[in-house]
């Protein structure tokens, strides 16, 4: 029993997805119930495994070619994966319950919950996989479920496009990831994390190889965790239902990239160059997303850009060679970002799917629970003490201060921007006068939605305290930490918030208008142009090949060749019987000559 318990975490959601898809599609309430029960079972199993460190998972051989390639079907159960499993299934459970409320009028509820269960299966698979091959399979499955869920309202063009964009963009990263996995296998002859670790140390001489390898593996995280330059899909993914944005595109799936980096940190840390690249990619993502977020008007998009920015922080921490800091921020971020999205979802659904913040206003009186919980999430996000985000962000800032001054400067600026745009959002949405009729007539969400908010609000508040978080993961050790770093962070926070309050209090329209940021640094336009250009080039090359090599050369050439040989052979057909007889006789004479005289 103990050996199978870890497998239940994985298989129960899979079973639920299968049952819903195959049997209970028509009974929407039953489907939702099955899915919620499955995720709760998964959560309980995760907790049991977390509590009993001695539990081991049964392992099966999956692919076994002796001496060449061994892929077992096994689970890693260490501190990292136990914590992550509890986190994923816990947040997942809260969001499943919230979905009952959010999706209660949706026609495609069965499909939604089946995909959600499948997502839980895949995501927990990533968390628990003990080798690269399994990880990659679950990695792709997560991408698929993300695609399905973003495109849940597939009849809306924007949602269908966003789903395609997310799938294709992450696929670019995954391709690099796959090459990276192949290189790891080539270098070490194994795909098991436990076996790769000792073997990597024998490769210290090949620094360029190691750098390329590390960067290719990092590619996977760039795609999945939406880092610059593949970040474009995440904001568009907000076309999906809000619980999905909370679960997949804020708390868990996008964090899978960071989790994977932490899991294989020994590969990245083998190369200083790779570490530096990772750190800077994270930094660039953080500041770029924060800049864009200051000029967005869609509540979910603002949150999406804040997710990008926080993921940038995590990747930055990985690049600064501190797994603890990265995981700590991932841990707190999962709570407060899920909370923010669910609170935003509560607003959106009560305002009849209005997402523009300039149509909101004065909601603090209309939706008091949502208001308080959103405030907790926002304060955690901007890193206001004593909320959880303060501790984890402070850990990353201290790390950057210690190891890389330019990155620290940018990170601090990002903290300032974060405070600015979050408070901007907060002030516009909750204070001032309602700017539309729907805002004026809104009321609080039902308990099935507010209870998850309250649970998450508690976690977002206390998740950062050492006495709480220490139980779950090793905290970053701050050696000789100066008071300077938290002080600077708080100054940035106060300046940012103050500026936002001063600018946006009682405004009816945005007083600041920066086209560059509003258009997201023209990334989408640039990528369209780039794709157009490469496609044009490819089309021209293909057209040339088709017209001149295939048409004129292969097809035309063989037809002309046949025709020419035919024309030549035609000359032999004189049509004269005696001519044929003569040639025949000549042939016989030649044959006789060869047979007799040679």
């Amino acid at each position: 029993m103990n050996f199978m318990l870890p497998w239940f975490i994985l298989l129960v959601p899979l079973f639920s997805a299968a049952v819903i898809t195959l049997f209970t599609r028509r009974w929407k309430a039953l489907s939702s119930a099955i899915s919620v029960v499955a995720v709760l079972v998964s959560f309980i199993c995760s907790c049991l495994i977390f509590a009993h460190q001695s539990i081991r998972a049964a392992e099966f051989t999956w692919i076994g070619i002796d001496g060449v390639f061994q892929v077992p079907f096994g689970l890693t159960l260490d501190q990292l994966s136990r914590t992550m499993a509890v986190l994923v299934s816990g947040v997942g459970a809260v969001i499943h319950i919230y979905s009952l409320g959010y999706m209660r009028d949706d026609e495609g509820r069965s499909r939604y919950f089946a995909a959600l269960s499948l997502f839980m299966f895949a995501m927990l698979g990533i968390v628990l996989a003990n080798n690269f091959v399994m990880l990659f399979i679950f990695w792709e499955l997560v991408g698929f479920t993300s695609y399905v869920l973003i495109g849940h309202w597939f009849y809306r063009d924007a949602a269908a496009d966003a789903a395609n964009k997310a799938f294709i963009t992450t696929r670019i990263g995954d391709f690099g990831f796959m090459l990276g996995i192949l290189m790891v296998w080539m270098a070490t002859g194994s795909v098991l994390f436990a076996e790769i670790t000792p073997r990597m140390s024998t490769l210290t001489g090949h620094s360029i190889f190691l750098t390329v390898l590390a960067l290719l593996v990092f590619c996977g995280a760039v795609g999945k965790s939406a880092q610059f330059p593949l970040h474009v899909w995440l904001p568009d993914a907000m076309e999906g239902p809000t619980p999905i944005s909370a679960l997949i595109h804020a708390a868990t799936m996008v964090a899978a990239g960071v989790y994977m980096l932490v899991r294989v940190a020994f590969i990245i840390q083998a190369s200083q160059t790779a570490l530096l690249v990772v750190a800077w990619i994270g930094t660039i993502t953080a500041v770029m997303a924060a800049l864009i977020a200051t000029q967005q008007n869609d509540i979910k998009r603002i949150l999406a850009y804040s997710t990008l920015s926080q993921l940038g922080y995590m990747v930055m921490a990985v690049g600064l060679a501190s797994n603890e800091a990265a995981m700590f921020h991932l841990f707190t971020h999962a709570f407060f970002k899920a909370l923010l999205f669910l609170a935003a979802g509560s607003i959106i659904v009560m305002l009849h799917h209005e997402q523009n913040i300039w149509s909101m206003g004065g909601l603090s009186r209309r939706l008091p629970i949502t208001f308080v919980t959103f405030a907790v999430g926002a304060l955690a996000l901007i890193g206001c003490p004593p909320f959880s985000g303060f501790f984890s962000k402070d850990a990353i800032l201290a790390l950057a201060y210690e190891r890389n001054a330019p990155i620290f400067a940018v990170a601090l600026f990002t903290a300032f921007l974060t405070a600015f745009y979050v408070i901007r959002l907060f002030v516009i949405v909750f204070f001032g006068n309602p700017r539309s009729d729907v805002a004026r007539e809104s009321r609080e969400s039902p308990p099935v939605m507010t209870v998850p908010l309250i649970v998450l609000a508690f976690l977002a508040t206390f998740g950062g305290f050492a006495f709480f978080a220490r139980n779950f993961l090793p905290l970053p050790v701050e050696k000789g930490v100066t008071i300077l770093v938290p002080a600077l962070a708080i100054v940035a926070l106060i300046v940012g918030s103050g500026l936002a309050i001063a600018l946006y209090r009682n405004r009816a329209a945005d007083p600041v208008n920066i086209e560059l940021l509003r258009r997201k640094f023209y990334f989408d336009e640039f990528y369209s142009w780039l794709i157009n250009w490469t496609q044009e080039l490819l089309a021209r090359v293909s057209a040339f090949l088709d017209r001149w090599i295939i048409d004129a050369g292969a097809v035309g050439g063989s037809s002309r060749g046949t025709w020419g040989v035919g024309a030549l052979l035609r000359l032999v057909q004189v049509g004269n019987l005696q001519g044929y007889a003569f040639l025949f006789g000549l042939g016989v004479i030649v044959l006789i000559y060869f047979a007799v005289f040679r």
Binding site: Q573, V574, N576, L577, Q578
Partner: protein, 106 residues
């Protein structure tokens, strides 16, 4: 004394006459007759071999003579078919001149 060589020379002459006839004559009937001549040249040499190359028992090699009968049979069949084609051709074209029969020319 007439030797095997004499027979073979006659056979060769007959064959050459036949071959020349096939090559040179324009009338299809003559061409057919020349063909028969070539077949009979072959028959003659076979019979000559049979007569002059006696086996160990002193008897001629009858294989050759049986072979001759086969050739005669085949020749008869060939003439039957050939003349039938000739008649059909004459009905269609009103000629037996080979110069006029060249539809297969390109």
């Amino acid at each position: 004394m007439i030797t095997l060589g004499d027979y073979l020379i006659v056979s060769g002459i007959l064959f050459s006459i036949g071959f020349a006839g096939v090559m040179l004559r324009r009338n299809l009937i003559i061409v057919l007759m020349s063909l028969e001549l070539m077949l009979n040249a072959a028959n003659l040499s076979l019979v000559a071999f049979s007569r002059f190359r006696l086996g160990p028992s002193g008897l001629p090699n009858y294989n050759a003579q049986v072979f001759v009968f086969f050739i005669i049979t085949v020749a008869a069949a060939e003439v039957a078919v050939g003349l039938a084609i000739l008649v059909a051709l004459f009905r269609a074209r009103h000629t037996t001149d080979l110069k006029d029969i060249s539809s297969l020319k390109f």
